[in-house]
Point group: C2
DNA sequence: AATATAATTTATAATGATTCTAAAGTAGTG
DNA sequence: CACTACTTTAGAATCATTATAAATTATATT
């Protein structure tokens, strides 16, 4: 029953994103729709840098999107909670289309990130607490390298 | 019996760092000795940025040390294993004089880091492993904010 | 102690990801 | 269509970091 539209016709993907943008208070411009399709119209979530997204746009789409708009859009999506930023590297920002709480493997050679499923990490227990502070998130990064 | 020198006289701190530098293959220049004293001649380890270290040098010492030398020295010390780099922020690099394996609280408002003692975190168990890869380190960052 | 050599420091320029600016373009509203 | 606020864009500005290359210094050698 999800993804219905008007007279029960299935919505086109584009319309889903138009809806999502509008309901977020973001005008559904062709740039934002195009970026939404690249980021969210997939079976699996993934991790990307601005540079990576820029290349995707150049390869997979006809419209030209300026770098400034890519930055603007990614930050808008992050602010709305559709993306998370991940800190693995000082040189570049990385983003994650998986916005749930989860942990990561990080290949230190390639900077490739791989999601850890929650069942793959035993619950983290912090036995200390800081007075006047509350825990906002707990993030684990497991750095890995080739084992030969 | 640690920290002895020649005829059993106690080494001066400076001499300790001269020794440490020389045994690391780094010439004991006055800049490196000065930075060593600021970073390592303390009761407790701490976290710092290049900017922070630069301010310390200006306030606490007479000699002038160029920014380039601060960068060079911090990177040399990191390479020798006397410092660790911590990624909490894309804007700046942060370093840690505690080079043991340990986890952190991070105050997301102030970017202040606080070490978690090993006994404060229940052992992290990763139940999945990546074929052909071995775990190099596991780092936990517990983000905290004011709880009012 | 003077000399030679390589390492180090330094001022300054270059880099590069990100942010800013302000002008042109576009979506929504009536 | 006309109006307004939002968005996109090219290009400039920012700023932490790194590179460059000349001057200085540490150390080994005579
Ligand atoms: Mn950001
Ligand atoms: Mn570095
Ligand atoms: Zn992820
Ligand atoms: Zn620490």
């Amino acid at each position: 029953m999800e993804n219905t539209y008007k007279l029960g016709k299935k919505m086109k993907n584009k319309d889903v994103f138009v809806e999502k943008l509008r309901s977020s208070g973001l005008r559904p411009t062709k740039q934002r729709i195009q970026i939404s399709e690249l980021l969210f119209d997939r079976k699996n979530t993934f991790h990307f840098s601005i540079d990576h997204l820029n290349n995707l746009l150049k390869k997979k789409t006809k419209i030209k999107v300026s770098l400034a708009t890519i930055y603007n859009t990614v930050h808008a999506f992050k602010k709305k909670g559709y993306l998370k930023e991940i800190l693995i590297n000082r040189e570049k920002s990385y983003f994650d289309t998986n916005t749930s709480d989860h942990h990561h493997f990080l290949n230190v050679k390639t900077n490739e990130l791989i999601d850890l499923k929650n069942e793959d990490v035993e619950k983290i227990k912090i036995k200390k607490n800081l007075p006047g502070k509350k825990i906002k998130s707990i993030e684990v990064i497991v750095k890995v390298e080739n084992s030969n």
